[in-house]
Assembly symmetry: C2
Homo-oligomer: 658 residues x 2
């Protein structure tokens, strides 16, 4: 006989409290409170097959309240995924277990996106739902027809990014997005009344969402609510009224169950309360079999889907699309064109020129901007707008929602089948930074297009002028930052970004730059991170390292030095990250041992100099500005901050003792 | 005869379009659309006196849509502030003018807070309204009785931080906060319909706000709406229906007026449309006099307020409070206590111990946390909760709203009379980073308490473990970052932060540390940024530089080296920012010239090593982790990442060639 839904749910509760108890660390309250709702979802609604976690037409499930990671570990284990095993769960939160403190997409199949930083799972789910509708528009119901389900907590709903993600989902009418809100009225500090008095449901309705309420501890009621959500054309919020830590008789309903082990005594009391007589980590046969049966209910659907793919004329194309390979055949003709007819344009404009070619060659790209389309130059003529009336479009007006955009792009990339890029001003990378980081952790293939990348944006002044951002972004592991110097480098950086598995960020100028790369090359020089753009003519005394818009200045400074008989290399360094990955021989060739005090290394970048010691050494010269910018036309600012030939050459001469 | 409100408003329109035209850069659309509403506010409601811009009981006005900076410049000029002069306005957006592209609080009296990064003016206004109610609770209506008005655009309302700020204001029932929403249905990309379908008014009502709608082009109607807002006990949103660029007949109502000069032809047409016959930058006498008269209408109220202050027994105390001087008499007895009875505690706990003393000594502090109170250790026993029922409390449960918290703290600091500090996990400094930056730009005296500052937080894993954050935060100009090593350093860093004029950030550990500072010192050693905690015993061959929790490891490594006859200094560097500010002699004493290859410099910090070349030189040794962390107990992680005596000593020996 099939165990009751409650008994199935109690297996989640038992695993959650036992794993947290053994680790003496973790969050039992949420899995125990949402066990019934999750059971309803996983046994009756969610379309998945544990034997093929990457089945493209599976429903996506996002545990936005990632601290409740034991909920998803229990579900994956019980429904029959190969991992986590019960041993993995017994090693919850230990170095050799894939059951990390928060669910990590790169550690377990079945974790669609890494969560924990609140609000971001929700935003990623919006991106997944966008990708689904987009691919559905292109490939039809036979190939693409799935939903995105989210479990979210009060934290997810209070974070600012929730407003952005909710607004985007409402605007795009993402009816296949269904959020189960764990309404337990408890946060870490205590009652939600300590910090919130909003009417959450009314807010969601104001945002264009469908809402429905249910007893979250009754899986039948949750199931009915999900049915209503599925039937509605709008994105849905299901308010599941729950009790945090449900089943732990002495602590349930309190913040004490949120982030700590319950303690042996309370766990014993909970076992009694739940009628759970088995030892820790032992799942009784009836429950184990019941879960496995229900876990395998998607296998027929998957088999049918495979048959449809085989039968479909678009099937192969779709599978290749999901595979995600990037063609770079656009690059050579594009660069050849730039060399035949050099373009002295801003690198944001050069990016648009590259995107013209990229969007024509790569149908998987989906562009967008956080309401700076005419400034970011992200919309090319050959793509249409993606909106509720045309999911097949390839350009999203994300609105003034930088963080929501970046979070959604992570989810789009993780859904697969699309390559998202999105623009804002580089100074506002601070707004999207939490999502840039979370994407980097997961190697989500997203391209962040950040224009207006220095004081060179001019009059908008210090609030809009990034000065510390390049260095702060380079600090993020697994993110590759590019700052190209001209149109050719911009194309090369785009190609390198598209070839990469992880996220990239392009820092692009508002102001025009000269065409510096005027000869065809055999390889993508920018992909090396740095290269010698100009070798010393006289005996080499100086190596000038510059990035982006300052490379043309470096060329001019070098020319002035050569006139005085001082040989100067110019190294263009579009990506410090990439350069650092090159082998010793290459790096030594470009930047010979700094202990050779005969050669002065000089860095020029219109940003903070802090950190450039990595390339100049402590006795080098760092040109930049270690302060906020100012409001004035760009040429005035470059002069004011000493970023001119006239200001730099004397500094170099002084350092050389001349 | 007093000119009509429309004629007064047209002076704003004329100055805005003329200044943008002359600069050939700027945003005329917003000032032209909101000129009538602003005229209503400034001539009939706002309490201010241009002859004393810092009058403590003035109403605060925040132009959250800061790109419309010409609106506030025009208002300040017309109402009679000493600056900007008409010359200043003619030099709009030039280096030698205080009329920057976006309004800068440090360039003009009358600008209460710097705006431009959207949503943040709104959040700062919430903080100002909190500070007002708090001080009112302490000092009464006679001394503190003012409102906070905001002009916000669609961008301000779409940004995620809006949700956090709105939620906070609704929860705290800040009835003295009144927001005029410039509902012009246009963003940079075009119609708001491109990206938004929410019912804004319904959302605000769901958040506990009062709302009212009016014709924003009719100053009489706006004035009536403001009266209704003033009468309501809730925070108010006034929906002002406007037309962007109103008065420019060929471009009004379109995105073309948002961020570019209108062009000579359109300006001429607008002059005609508005009946404005004067030359650019000429304000006709009737209008100039009309504005000046209305601008001075607050002078009596100010004089009365001064009389009340003089008559009040609390008057002097209040003025001193507004002055903002910080007493540090708490420090010595507190440190003496720690030395008498050393505390081997986490630095977050040491911070709580310091705060016990600080909150007792400094009544101006207002603490809080973004729902991590028990983890951040920010609530001390001697202060009560500040909420709608007790504005006199000194602790705010900010909810899961890191950005909103930081933005509100900026506004609290800028209001004056309070010193805000607020906590979250350090990894979530990414969420509040835009406000940390904007506060740094303005030197807002805010103390960001960031606990769980490394992989040392253990099991929560890489989403919660800051690795790049210390370096990324140190990159922000005018922000002082501290990472103390033990309880005494923590107290010293708090004292240094409180003595500073600008913002500070404390990076504090989850895990316990030994007491390292066990002797009384004459001065605050941490305030120097770095100091020699232990001098070499054998001949000095190594200088180990470490921060925070890694200082005790450095001490142990040094001891192991000394055992081998290798002399090693240990330099504790709680603040690289502070150390960089010391004179050459001090820095040279602590870190002798790195070209002396006889001394190896070693850095140890449980974060990225990138950037430590600044102190180790290129031939030094940098110990840390240049990757994301992992989920496991902290000691396992320290071992895994090589942050142990056993891993580090051999590396140093190898580098020394031993």
């Amino acid at each position: 006989m099939q165990p009751t839904q409650r008994r199935l749910a109690n297996a989640i509760r038992a695993l959650a409290m036992d794993a947290v108890e053994k680790a003496n660390s973790g969050h039992p309250g949420m899995p125990m409170g949402m066990a019934d709702a999750a059971t309803a979802l996983f046994t009756r609604h969610l379309k998945f097959d544990p034997s093929d976690p990457k089945w493209p037409d599976r429903d996506r499930f996002v545990l936005s309240a990632g601290h409740g990671s034991m909920l998803i570990y229990a579900l994956l284990h019980l429904t029959g995924y190969a991992r986590p095993t019960i041993d993995d769960i017994m090693k919850f939160r230990q170095l050799d277990s894939p059951c990390a403190g928060h669910p990590e997409s790169f550690m377990l199949a079945g974790i669609e996106t890494t969560t924990g930083p609140l609000g971001q799972g929700f935003a990623a789910a919006v991106g997944m739902a966008i990708a689904e509708r987009h691919l559905n528009a292109l490939y039809g119901d036979d190939l693409v027809d799935h939903r995105t389900f989210v479990i979210a907590g009060d934290g997810d709903l209070m974070e600012g990014v929730n407003h952005e993600a909710t607004g985007l989902a409402g605007h795009l009418k993402l009816g296949r997005l269904i959020v189960l809100w764990d309404d337990n009225r408890i946060t870490i500090d205590g009652s939600t009344e300590l910090s919130r008095n909003e009417d959450v449901v009314a807010r969601y309705e104001a945002m264009g969402w469908h809402t429905v309420e249910c007893d979250g501890l009754d899986s039948g009621k949750v199931s009915q609510a999900i049915d209503k959500a599925v039937a509605d054309a709008r994105p849905s919020l299901i308010r599941c009224k729950t009790i945090i830590g449900y089943g732990a008789p002495g602590k349930q309903g309190t913040a004490a169950t949120h982030g700590s082990a319950l303690g042996a005594e309370e766990v014993a009391a909970a076992r009694k309360e739940l009628g759970w007589t088995d030892e820790p980590f032992v799942i009784p046969d009836d429950v184990a079999k019941g879960w496995k049966n229900l876990g395998s209910r998607g296998s027929n659907a998957r088999a049918e889907w495979h048959r449809r793919v085989e039968a479909s004329p678009k099937g192969k194309e779709y599978l290749a699309r999901i595979e995600g390979k990037c063609d770079d055949s656009w690059l050579k003709p594009h660069v050849d064109g730039l060399i035949a007819k050099p373009q002295a344009v801003a690198t944001r404009k050069a990016s648009e020129l590259a995107l013209d070619a990229i969007n024509a060659a790569l149908p998987a790209t989906i562009g967008g901007s956080a309401d700076l389309t005419p400034s970011n130059n992200t919309l090319t003529k050959n793509i249409a707008v993606l909106d509720a009336g045309n999911y097949g479009g390839r350009y999203i007006h994300y609105g003034i929602r930088e963080f929501g955009m970046a979070g959604a792009m992570n989810g789009m990339a993780q859904h697969g089948g699309v390559i998202p890029y999105g623009g804002t001003f580089m100074v506002f990378s601070d707004y999207s930074r939490p999502a840039i980081r979370l994407g980097a952790l997961q190697k989500a293939k997203v391209i962040h297009v950040m224009t207006h990348d220095s004081i060179g944006l001019g009059e908008d002044g210090p609030t809009h002028q990034p000065v510390e951002h390049l260095q702060a972004l380079r600090a993020i592991p697994q993110l590759t930052v590019y700052r190209p110097a001209d149109a050719v480098e911009t194309a090369e950086c785009w190609a390198a970004a598209l070839a990469d598995d992880g996220p990239s960020l392009l820092a692009l100028s508002r102001q025009n730059v000269r065409a510096l790369r005027t000869k065809a090359e055999k390889s993508n020089l920018s992909a090396k991170g740095a290269y010698r753009l100009k070798g010393a003519e006289a005996a080499r005394k100086v190596i000038i390292i510059a990035t982006g818009t300052e490379v043309e200045l470096a060329i001019d400074v070098a020319a002035a030095l050569e006139e005085k008989g001082i040989g100067a290399d110019v190294v263009s360094m579009p990506s410090t990250d990439r350069f650092d990955e090159q082998d010793d021989a290459y790096r030594e060739d470009i930047l010979p041992d700094v202990s050779n005090r005969d050669i002065l290394r000089v860095s020029i970048e219109a940003g903070i100099t802090r950190g450039w010691e990595r390339y100049t050494g402590l006795h080098g010269l760092k040109i930049g500005l270690d302060r906020f910018g100012a409001s004035a036309p760009a040429p005035d600012l470059y002069k004011f901050f000493g970023l001119t030939i006239e200001a730099i050459v004397p500094k170099i001469l002084e350092k050389l003792g001349k």
